[in-house]
Structures are given as structure tokens and as C-alpha cells.
Symmetry: C2
Subunit: 152 residues, 2 copies
DNA sequence: CTGTTCAGCCGTGGATCTACCGGTAGATTG
DNA sequence: CAATCTACCGGTAGATCCACGGCTGAACAG
């Protein structure tokens, strides 16, 4: 459990989060390690589940999703299966966080138009009351951890 | 602008979002295309900005970030530079969405402990009133578009 | 001190992948 | 019809991946 990550591991993590397709030889060059040592470390990070996968980042607006919204869902019941099913079916729901507080779920939703968003929110309103906020802009598409957490 | 994506392009996007490190030859096999044709399409998607990058997914809990939270920030002023600076400095702020509604910003924040989160929220409270919700769980780490948006 | 163990690193060589080339079929245009 | 364009294919040289064995230094027991 207590996998201690040394500075080289963190350097690798920073690099692969920035460029997930960097060849292992080039990665080794950047962190001052041979290709084989780099390969071993990356494989260790992968099989330990620290690197859980690699993914391409797709620009939503350029593929037709002009509208991004944050929808908070106040969900009175505790029948979670129908909601899980909706999440599995509707790929427009990019992310779903279950949280503390009045709004049990916080969703990130992409839609092609306001009409499309309206339809999605209608489906969600089946489950409870919703609060929707449109997204003007997001600073970074995503950003991962760059080092160990501050110790307090 | 109106880059029309055919079903093969979408198949490629789905695959590289699921496995960003798949070799182009294997990717071609999966979408029934030769390696060179696949390479051309991927490069076109990249240079058109549709694929904006590749990144490794790091499991936050396994690298010491035990706490995930959604912080909404009500930001009365319109001096945005100091906030931008904080975002650039604090890598614990994973995502920052500027939205409509009372809460101008919605942030996703990772912390190593409640004390660490408290400190981060204190820094944010310099800018305005905050609402913090802890995250119990998230369905998928992330999910991108799997096809064109519904037409309405 | 000496020998053992082990983790981490390196270099090597065969298999695989990438980048680039020319060639072809079908659609479009003049 | 000829010219052109797009998307595809196959082939090849060079780069990369991957599994292997050897090397080194630290930790440790005798």
C-alpha cells in the first residue's frame, strides 16, 4: 500500500501525464535513465495501479459538443441502480461525482445544443431536482498530481 | 471548422480515448484499416486539434491524495489575475470551470488530508465565499465523447 | 571482515512499430 | 476524356519495444 515514490518516479508521472505517448527511450532521456530502467519503472507503476491507463484528449467543441454544463442532482431516494444505468447509457455525461451536501451528485455534461442539454436535464430530473450551470471556459482540460501532497 | 468526422474517425477516437498508447498498427487492425492509412487519419485528427493530446491517468488515492472535493467559489470582484496565479501555482487544483450562476467558479481539488484541504480552502476564501463538498466516489475517472452529439 | 542476497541499473539483439515513399481505385472537375 | 484529388494500400529503412543476462552497490548475517 505504502508505495513510496521517489523523485524519479514523480518525474516519470509528470512526463507521462503531459505527453502520454512519449516513447520510453525518450522518456528515459528526459528523466536521465536508460530505456530499460525506464521501462521497468513504468511497468511497475502500471501494475501497481498508480498509472491506471492512458487516454487521448478530445476537444469537445471541435467534435460538435458546443455546450458544457455542471449539473447538480439532489437525489432523495436511495435507489441508485436506475441512475447508474442512465450514466452507462448516456455518454454525454462525462463525469459523475457523488458528494456530501444537499446535492448528492455533481455531473459534468456535454451537449451539442441547448435543446440537447435540455433533454438530458429532463432525463436527470426524473431522479430528483437539478441545478444546472453552463460552463464559460475551463482553465486546463485536465491536470493531474505533480508531486506528493503537502504534509500537514 | 465543420470538420466532418466519418464513422471510422469516431472509431479511432473511441479507441484512443480508451487506450491512448495503442500502437498504430494495432489501432488499424481494430478499425479495419492499414497502418499507413491509420497513421494519416490520426495525424490529421491531431493537427486539426481534435485530439488535443495524450495523457496518463494517475490514481490519486495511490499517490497520497486521499481527499477529493468540489469547491464552488462565489467571486464578487472581476480581478481574475490573482486567481489565475493561484491556479497556476497550486497543482492540487485539478480543474477549474468558470460557470454561470451565483458560484462563478467550480473547482475540483485533491488533497492529502483534511488539514491540507482546509489550507487550500483558506487560500481560496481570500477571493470570495466558498462552498465545499467532499467526494465519496466517482463513477469513471473520465470519459470522452463516443460519437457525434444528438441532433435536435 | 567476508560472503550472500537483492534491488536497481545497463547493454544487447530479435521482434515490432513508425515514418515515408510510390502506386492504385474511385470521385470530381474542366 | 484527361487532369486532379482523396483515401487507401504495400514495401522499406530506421527507430522503438521487450525480454534477457550481467553489473554494481547497499543491507545484512555470520
Amino acid at each position: 500500500m505504502t508505495e513510496t515514490l521517489d523523485p524519479t518516479d514523480w518525474a516519470i508521472l509528470v512526463e507521462v501525464q503531459r505527453d502520454g505517448r512519449v516513447p520510453l527511450t525518450e522518456l528515459g532521456r528526459r528523466v536521465n535513465l536508460s530505456a530499460s530502467a525506464t521501462t521497468e519503472r513504468v511497468k511497475r507503476l502500471e501494475s501497481a495501479g498508480i498509472i491506471s491507463g492512458y487516454r487521448a484528449d478530445v476537444d469537445l467543441t471541435r467534435v460538435g459538443y458546443a455546450v458544457l454544463a455542471v449539473v447538480r442532482l439532489k437525489y432523495p431516494g436511495n435507489k441508485h441502480e436506475p441512475l447508474r444505468k442512465l450514466l452507462a447509457d448516456r455518454f454525454e455525461i462525462l463525469e459523475c461525482l457523488r458528494t456530501t451536501g444537499d446535492d448528492c451528485y455533481t455531473l459534468k455534461v456535454a451537449a451539442g445544443s441547448m435543446a440537447h442539454l435540455e433533454q438530458l436535464v429532463n432525463e436527470l430530473t426524473e431522479f430528483g431536482s437539478t441545478t444546472t450551470n453552463l460552463v464559460y471556459s475551463q482553465t486546463q482540460p485536465y491536470r493531474g498530481p505533480q508531486g506528493p501532497p503537502a504534509e500537514l
